[in-house]
């Protein structure tokens, strides 16, 4: 208890000197190349680069925070950070709880990858996906048996060790994995899901939403956003018109 009070008191003292507003950027840090913890222990990836550029353009001071995917929305609404920038697709269900900016990443394909030749849509297929993702929702509706994992990496591991027949995830996440593992290959058809990826914000934060929308628009206009997309996702990645 004493430690708590001390920490709280010291925090108050330390911050009263800083006047500038800080926007805390929440991300998962486990979804390369969108976001990941790099070898230096720092948050890195496409979203880190986009986020930092947006903050520069909007003249905001940004601080990066990593948070478990499962509790990423509750921690936004309770105010532990101010944005979610974690490869989160814009969907109607999420839009009821939080707000999204305009997309900074176009609607991308999701794909199945497996270690064998199989039909991921068949009723006896066991498909792994990360919990609370549009991919998990899609598998549940497809008729296959859904096996959910807390992190995308665990879903991949489940396919490798035979626990699941296939994984369903964003294709951009799977491409480097399939490329570097001779046992894994894409199976079935790619599926287009979601309305693109946007920054998640509290519904009451209209001002911040407008600021970010403006910055995203300016990055789309001068082509920097498309450059970053091709830099992180390759020449074949879908870019903005």
């Amino acid at each position: 208890m004493k430690t708590l009070l001390l920490a709280a008191a010291a925090a108050t003292l330390a911050t009263s000197a800083m006047a500038q507003d800080v926007v805390r950027m929440g991300t998962e840090g486990a979804y390369p190349p969108y976001n990941f913890i790099n070898d230096d222990g720092e948050i890195d990836g496409f979203e880190r680069e986009v986020g930092d550029e947006l903050c520069t353009r909007a003249e905001l001071t940004c601080e990066w925070v990593s948070n478990d995917w499962d509790s990423i929305i509750p921690n936004l609404t309770s105010g532990n950070y101010d944005t979610i920038i974690a490869g989160m697709s814009i969907t109607a269900e999420r839009d009821e709880v939080i707000d999204f900016t305009d997309p900074y990443f176009p609607p991308a394909a999701s794909a199945y990858a497996s270690t064998m030749d199989m039909d991921p849509m068949s009723a006896d297929a066991v498909v792994a996906a990360q919990t609370n993702t549009i991919q998990a929702a899609h598998v549940a509706e497809s008729g296959a048996t859904l096996l959910e994992f807390a992190t995308p990496d665990e879903a991949v591991a489940a396919v490798r060790n035979g626990e699941a027949d296939a994984i369903f995830a964003d294709k951009d996440f799977l491409v480097p994995i399939v490329d570097e593992d001779s046992d894994m290959s894409f199976v079935g058809e790619d599926v287009a899901l979601g309305d693109g990826i946007g920054i998640g914000l509290r519904e009451s934060d209209d001002e911040l939403e407008a600021t970010f929308n403006e910055a995203i628009a300016s990055m789309k206009e001068d082509g920097t956003l498309n450059t970053m997309i091709t830099e992180w996702f390759g020449e074949d990645a879908i870019t903005f018109e």
Binding site: M1, A10, A11, Q20, D21, D40, E63, N80
Partner: protein, 298 residues
């Protein structure tokens, strides 16, 4: 760390490994062992204090105090840890912020609760959003300590309550015969004697507490299990040190750590038991008395 680490892709064998094991994420992994040990070092005495107060309250002759003590132990012991960690910590955090909001922002007219949102004025945020990340981590860590202390305090309260009742009644009656008040007897006779009865239960709690630290990650504190999972997972060539799924090695490392740690705990607890048994009216106390060299009793 080492000079030759600047280009990891050109390295192999022992050099690659030495660079890999000393890169940024690994240093954070190693320091998380310190986090866990620090948490245990602060939580254990705090939980014991909570437990002592709970037990003392439970056997109080003042009815409201007794009810408070019994309610605390019954409620906390009945709620699953994970629920407690998800619900209570957020409630505690919001309670602090709400109080600060009332004190610091009297003129604020926007509602604090909007649907699922909890919006206090920026000055009331704990820590302030402009505070460096280290303060946010320290704050979460403090919340974790308080929560662990409350949860384990409730179990400790029950153990101590039982231990207090296990002290032979004749001891308390003798104290009364010597003219001690109830308080004096509690302090001089009951408390010094109860530990030997409490120790087996408390040592169980300690062992469970050691292994409960992965709950830390629910509070945003990155503990050793989080880092083992994060670093051990397979890494593609987007990383400087790509490798397949190595979680088995990292978790084996944790296994060794936990086994050594619990072994040391057992040794220390065994010594403590022997020490506390000296002069006690228990079988172990009697054994020690007989084994001791003849002479005036210490």
């Amino acid at each position: 760390m080492f000079e030759y680490c600047s280009d990891p892709s050109a390295l192999d064998g022992a050099r690659w490994l030495s660079c890999y094991l000393t890169n940024g994420v690994h240093l954070r992994f190693y320091s998380s062992f310190g986090t866990v040990l620090l948490l245990l070092a602060i939580t254990a005495p705090l939980a014991l204090a909570f437990g002592f107060l709970g037990a003392a309250a439970s056997r109080s002759s003042v009815a409201p105090l007794r009810w408070a003590g019994k309610t605390y132990t019954a409620m906390v012991r009945g709620v699953p840890d994970i629920v407690f960690f998800l619900f209570f910590v957020i409630a505690l955090d919001q309670a602090f912020e709400w109080m600060r909001h009332q004190a610091l922002c009297p003129g604020w007219d926007a509602p604090i609760r909007q649907g699922a949102e909890f919006n206090v004025c920026p000055e009331a945020k704990l820590p302030r959003s402009s505070a460096p990340q280290a303060w946010h981590e320290a704050y979460n860590f403090s919340l974790a300590i308080v929560t662990f202390a409350i949860v384990f305090g409730a179990f400790a309260a029950n153990v101590l309550y039982g231990a207090m009742r296990a002290v032979p009644r004749a001891q308390m009656e003798t104290a009364a015969a010597y003219g001690m008040t109830e308080r004096q007897a509690f302090r001089r006779i009951l408390v010094p004697q109860m530990w030997v009865y409490a120790l087996p239960g408390l040592s169980n709690l300690w062992m469970i507490l050691i292994k409960a630290t992965p709950l830390l990650f629910l509070l945003g504190v990155e503990d050793i299990v989080y880092w083992a999972r994060e670093i051990g997972g397979s890494k593609t060539s987007a990383f400087s040190y790509p490798h397949p799924d190595w979680r088995i090695w990292y978790f084996s490392g944790l296994l060794v750590f936990y086994l050594i740690f619990t072994k040391i705990s057992e040794i220390v607890l065994a010594q403590l038991t022997a020490r506390l048994s000296a002069g006690q009216a228990t079988a172990e106390g009697e054994r020690l008395r007989r084994a001791a060299p003849a002479g005036p009793a210490a």
